[in-house]
Symmetry: C2
Subunit: 133 residues, 2 copies
């Protein structure tokens, strides 16, 4: 349980809050949620926690929503891609590598697909698609 480093109370609260969201979240959303359990917790700490998680590979960027960066917890181990609803942040995971045909086409054009920038595919969940948002 030392993975969290010293003084881990706040990060533990943030971690629980983030896991409970079950979808892509902004730092402000994470902060708002964690604050319910820890009212003194500052926004700066939320930014720092997400930064750390990203460096450690627990979390990855999932695009932006309304100008704010969103993140998802990356639980699956093997090669996979996240599908993220651009409206509500709902996520799904594609196990196989559905991007191979795209990679081939991109390479035929003389480019290499930048996988690190395609960790999550922008999509719309059935609810948001039905809402016509």
């Amino acid at each position: 349980m030392e993975e969290l480093g010293r003084n881990r109370k706040n990060r533990a609260v943030l971690l629980r809050a983030g896991r409970e969201m079950g979808r892509a979240f902004t730092v402000a959303e994470l902060h708002r949620s964690a604050r319910e359990a820890q009212p003194t917790l500052g926004l700066t700490t939320a930014y720092r926690a997400v930064d750390r998680w990203r460096e450690e590979g627990f979390v990855e960027e999932a695009g932006t929503r309304g100008g704010e960066a969103t993140y998802v917890f990356c639980t699956a181990a093997g090669h996979h891609h996240h599908v993220v609803c651009v409206d509500c942040g709902a996520t799904a995971t594609l196990e196989g590598c559905a991007l191979e045909p795209v990679r081939t086409a991109v390479e035929a054009a003389g480019f290499e697909l930048a996988d690190e920038a395609l960790g999550s595919l922008p999509a719309r969940c059935s609810t948001c698609a039905a809402d016509g948002r």
Copy 2:
């Protein structure tokens, strides 16, 4: 030639500058380039021109580079996707729809691919890939 509206001198300069770039550009880059021909042209006008072009469909967002949004001129008419080098902005166009297998996989997960957010695929051109950037 009325597509540009009134007082079109500055926007014409910006349009020429943008087309001459031949790659994805930031608003600041566009402004810097256009300023060589029109030194009084303000940054605000460049922002406004790009906004208008995007609304009109001449231009689409192509992700970000160093924290700045980038844009590409969208010349092809049919269904297509841009491939954009995340380092230098070089572009290519995929004529067919190489994304169909991805769409199928995403739909199997209960989502709909958000095409408008996938107008350009992040990639690296051969030069930047070789530079190891």
